[in-house]
């Protein structure tokens, strides 16, 4: 490409277009599925905007621990953090789905609860707390849901080791008489 063309592209903004946004959050596309990337302070506002726009149901809320995954792709302007809280919403009229991914830092694993917007998020957020130790603020009942109350650690974190029992393989036993 000639130098003049490049200059023209930069000046008109075509080489570096405005990042795509929707509902006040940056947008990315993952295999033709639309994903929103709000930050923690705007998370609830973005979800409320989604609800007002016809996303009547919160399908699920879960978390991902990106401790050992460096292949994650995020739009420019989103700072990657260790945890990610993901929520999925559905619009029954437009037949569309929306995923919201929020970065949650390891040193302060807290995020606002969606309970006031979608009461159905209650059990899912409890599971995310149980498995990842992410605290949801203003949640009515923030306690473990699957593991026992006195369990130590959060099993789905990547630095939580899986236990194993050594299995010794022996020759097949003698035939039954």
């Amino acid at each position: 490409m000639a130098e003049e063309e490049l200059v023209e592209l930069v000046e008109t903004g075509a080489a570096n277009p405005e990042p795509e946004t929707a509902y006040g959050a940056l947008v990315s596309w993952s295999l033709d599925q639309q994903v929103l990337h709000p930050d923690r302070p705007t998370y609830v506002a973005v979800v409320e905007a989604l609800k007002a726009d016809g996303f009547v149901m919160c399908i699920d809320v879960w978390a991902v621990d990106y401790l050992t995954n460096d292949t994650r792709v995020l739009p420019d302007g989103v700072r990657p953090e260790r945890y990610e809280v993901v929520a999925s919403f559905i619009n029954h009229v437009a037949h569309t789905r929306m995923r919201v991914r929020v970065q949650v830092p390891a040193e302060d694993p807290t995020i606002a609860s969606l309970f006031d917007v979608y009461p159905g998020a209650e059990a899912m957020e409890r599971e995310a707390f149980d498995m990842f130790g992410i605290t949801f603020e203003n949640h009515p009942d923030m306690c473990r849901i699957l593991m026992p109350d006195d369990w130590e650690g959060h099993p789905l974190r990547k630095d939580y080791a899986i236990g194993s029992i050594p299995v010794q393989f022996k020759a097949s036993p003698a035939e039954r008489s």
């Binding site: 007002a52 009547v56 399908i59 699920d60 792709v73 999925s88 009515p140 593991m147 789905l156």
Partner: protein, 430 residues
């Protein structure tokens, strides 16, 4: 309520107020032992009762904490986790080929749907298409699985209500379905039959006759169930008007499947977000009007009839061809090739030891399981194992309606309500 109405009105503050207070018991066992009401005052009139996890009507290991006043349930809390085996963690340590054996054990009553959601998500990440025959085999198996799952519901629901005859009738028909599964997949349950790339094996000889024989025998069996239950006054008295939930509350709580449809909300992923080839088939989505236990019973009963209709259509149009993709990176080479070709041997070895690599990315794929929306979310880091796999189990989310359905009902009705939600604890706890 239709989807359009829900969008216009939202589900409103009335649902929210009812959902926030009153029905859900939010306290630990230590607090519960103190016997205080929600304002922290001692209350002699209230008793806390424990139901389960060992109780014949809790469908496995569901435990309920019930706050009672005489025989009326005030607040309640489902306590779960007794069947938690860390399957999402296990999934991170199994290759995509092994993953099917893991997910199939989640909702053990409809295992093929778990495998389907997992396979569809993997295939979307891989960017591969499965052959048409595989698509139709998957649909055939899933609809048969829907039949067997709803038949199990008919059996257990009847048993919970004291209609032990219904249990025998439902079980007998389900067993016939499982026999067909055994012939096709090799196992009655936990099949690992639907795999990334297609299905594990082609349909065996005589599958068409066996399937026809099965679905020809079903309608008369369903009519028997109808005669045994549907019109009977005792059955109606026990179910009608019990465990009522409206569409607003279902939407607010994320409830899907027959429970959402029983509240008069017309939503079925097979029709509204078609996957596989459901858009080429003709079937009806059944919707209730009262949102009570009876609606949920009759919706499931008639969904069996719709699935029979679907199976007949699939039998007519079942295409020939491959039952799995010919992508050599995903599908192991045929046994005969291994003796002739070094590359085939290497491929075979790599696929079964290391596993195939899946491009990095994240994807969520939903399917309509007999209990509602079953979604699989996979994050891949480019390796042969999922970096994270999340299963959105419909039973897990649907369980949240229990306190709302049970609020201000009699203790005897809790059994009817738990039964009508049809939770499978393997999927709730994973």
């Amino acid at each position: 309520m239709t989807a359009v109405e829900a969008q216009i009105t939202g589900w409103g503050d009335d649902a929210k107020v009812r959902l926030r207070d009153g029905a859900v018991l939010r306290m630990t066992e230590a607090e519960a032992a103190k016997g205080l009401d929600n304002q922290g005052n001692p209350d002699d009139q209230r008793t806390l009762m424990n139901m389960g996890p060992q109780h014949p009507s809790t469908h496995g290991v569901l435990r309920l904490m019930l706050e009672m006043e005489a025989e009326t349930v005030l607040r309640s809390k489902p306590v779960i986790g007794y069947l938690h085996t860390g399957m999402e963690k296990t999934a991170e340590n199994l290759t995509y080929l092994q993953g099917g054996t893991n997910v199939t054990r989640m909702d053990y009553v409809s295992p093929l749907f778990n495998e389907l959601a997992f396979s569809l998500a993997t295939e979307k990440l891989l960017g591969i298409e499965v052959p048409e025959r595989a698509v139709y085999i998957r649909m055939l198996m899933c609809e048969l699985n829907r039949i067997s799952s709803h038949l199990l519901f008919q059996a257990t629901n009847g048993m919970d209500m004291g209609a032990v005859g219904a249990m025998i009738y439902g079980w007998r028909m389900r067993e016939e379905t499982l026999r067909l599964f055994e012939k096709i997949t090799g196992l009655r349950m936990n099949h690992n039959y639907i795999r990334p790339g297609g299905v594990a094996a082609d349909l065996p000889d005589g599958w068409r006759d066996d399937t026809l024989k099965l679905i020809d025998s079903l309608p008369s069996g369903l009519d028997e169930l109808d005669a045994l239950l549907t019109g009977q006054p005792i059955w109606r008295d026990r179910l009608q008007g019990v465990g009522v939930i409206n569409a607003n509350e279902c939407l607010a709580l994320g409830v899907t499947g027959p429970i959402l449809r029983s509240a008069g909300y017309d939503w079925d992923l097979r029709r509204d977000e078609p996957y596989l080839a459901y858009d080429k088939l003709d079937f009806d989505v059944l919707v209730g009007s009262y949102g009570d236990c009876f609606d949920r019973y009759s919706i499931r009963l008639n969904e069996i009839r719709e699935s029979v209709k679907l199976v007949r259509q699939i039998l007519e149009v079942m295409p020939s061809g491959d039952y799995r993709t010919q992508n050599k990176k995903v599908t192991p080479p045929p046994r005969g090739r291994i003796d002739q070709s070094m590359e085939a041997l290497i491929h075979h070895f790599k696929i079964f030891t290391e596993g195939f690599h899946v491009p990095a990315g994240e994807v969520y794929v939903p399917v309509e399981s007999p209990r509602g929306e079953l979604g699989c979310y996979i994050v891949s880091d480019g390796g042969p194992k999922p970096y994270r796999m999340r299963m959105r189990g419909p039973s897990f989310v649907n369980l949240q309606v229990l306190p709302h359905m049970m609020h201000n009902t009699l203790l005897a009705d809790t059994v009817a309500i738990v039964s009508s939600v049809d939770p499978i604890m393997g999927e709730v706890d994973r």
